[in-house]
Symmetry: C2
Subunit: 313 residues, 2 copies
């Protein structure tokens, strides 16, 4: 293991191989004035998927554990759930059974656990959960299971005038509650899936009530749609890890001038997880083929990253 030298090396957790060099070369190319590849600071927009790109997503998306914990927390107020699917499975800790209900069961649980609060109440519920809930296999806080090399990359980009955005299929309000503390990404730079909200005056106090109705799904074709809607500029750098990021990659790479597309390939079964084409969570198949075909940067977790999680250092 090489010694860390943050002073000279902006990416100490990245091994000295071509991908680290590709990142640094790109940043130098777009920030060196007088270079043909120079990009003004206002246009230095970077977009990052979250699940599997900035933090882990196994055995399931972490937000799903939040939803399952919410079902249990709300069960006293919903005695009928004990005899009603998909809640019954969850309350009996039969996660396999619950998952066999597919997208329909998933959506129902997400709606039941993410709505019927005000936006302020929901933020507090997420905050209470994120500082206490523990990952089922590592026993760590979920916010500890973030990738040290990506934290360094976010900081390196920000120091070079980039604005880092999250573009995730995860819930926008779920992420906004904690990403500023964890990634230094402010709420206005978070794009995600959403349910509808409704403005109401409750007892003289204006609130936004969360409605159990899908507003926007920020995944696959939705990612460029969301990026364009929220930012109105085309990013010059995009990183993701699954087929859900492919259209974001295509949209980003089609712009004029220098572009950086980075695909995180989960290859490390020792320190994290190894999965791609056959995985239910974070399936990476078409995007892997297209990345190889178009010479996008494929980050091999096992060989590229000297450290995966912050606690290893």
């Amino acid at each position: 293991m090489k010694p860390i030298s943050t002073q000279n090396d902006p990416l100490p957790s990245w091994n000295e191989d071509t991908n680290k060099k590709a990142i640094i070369d790109f940043v130098k190319a777009v920030t060196t004035e007088d270079d043909k590849t120079y990009v003004p600071a206002l246009d230095r927009v970077a977009v990052f998927d979250n699940d599997g790109t900035l933090w882990s997503e196994k055995p399931f998306y972490f937000q799903l554990f939040f939803a399952l914990d919410r079902v249990k927390a709300l069960a006293d107020a919903h005695p009928e759930w004990h005899d009603q699917q998909p809640y019954k499975d969850i309350l009996e800790d039969d996660i396999e059974g619950f998952l066999s209900g597919g997208m329909k069961a998933l959506l129902e649980v997400v709606m039941a656990t993410h709505s019927n609060t005000t936006s302020e109440e929901f933020e507090q519920i997420v905050l209470d959960w994120i500082v206490s809930a523990r990952h089922p296999t590592t026993g760590r806080l979920y916010t500890e299971m973030i990738y040290q090399p990506m934290l360094e990359l976010l900081e390196y980009l920000q120091a070079n005038g980039f604005r880092n955005y999250i573009a995730s299929a995860g819930g926008i309000e779920f992420m906004r509650a904690w990403v500023e503390d964890v990634y230094r990404i402010p709420p206005e730079q978070v794009i995600g899936s959403s349910i509808e909200t409704k403005f109401e005056i409750q007892d003289g106090y204006p609130v936004l009530v969360r409605i159990p109705k899908l507003d926007f799904v920020d995944d696959h074709e939705g990612k460029p749609v969301g990026i364009h809607k929220f930012i109105g500029r085309r990013p010059i750098l995009a990183m993701g890890n699954s087929d859900g990021d492919l259209q974001m990659f295509q949209w980003t790479s089609a712009g004029k001038g220098p572009r950086f597309i980075g695909l995180i390939h989960h290859t490390d079964n020792q320190r994290e997880w190894a999965y791609d084409r056959e995985s239910l969570v974070g399936k990476l198949d078409k995007a892997l083929d297209e990345a190889r075909q178009k010479n996008w940067t494929i980050v091999d977790m096992k060989t590229d990253w000297r450290i995966v999680y912050p606690w290893e250092s």
Copy 2:
């Protein structure tokens, strides 16, 4: 007329009365460290309505003139429009007739003129129009009919660490094409009404196609919804001029700590227009009552503004 002294006076086009002082006092209160009223820069979010707040909106919202001009530009490709309402009225310059069709006619024309292009094509169409179209009574470019006092306010706030957002019922893509040049507000700080877009690969090139289907109406109850969706923070300053801004005012003012709510009252029939409770465009009725009741700042255009449009100076 007093001499302009931009060096010492950040708001030279505002007359020396209590409203100018109220603005400056507020900015000092939230930017003076160690004051109880201090607000960290990240939370200094300001939201501005556009039509009637940053530029004029008479005789009709300027975007409507864009739509009418588009009907004429597209008429050759739509010979059926010459015998079909509401297009027939527009092509015969019978604007009164067209407006008598109400919201239904308006929505049909907006959809027909704002969709079925890619996002890039639409931006170019707006840009071509905004640099050439002329206001029907002043003969000025629409972008000349912006308020000099508000330009100064935007600059003053920005110089004090604020991030200025537009929150307008106008089309988000219509505004983004030109507001950065005109107001120094970047596209990612523009919130507006939108139609849906769809990601497609056309001849190998990824595009976003604009679909004739409403996505979001950023007006009345929609304004706090849009602000929360796009920014995820509650603004500390809001300015608007009509009942469509009332819920934005309520949402902004309900936050903890110092708040500034500014209502532009159109009172100057000489230099601009005078209208409020009875006006179809920019109707100001309930918001005027609530502003008086809650002691929000009511900007009287006639007495507060030494200059209205930039060309007067």
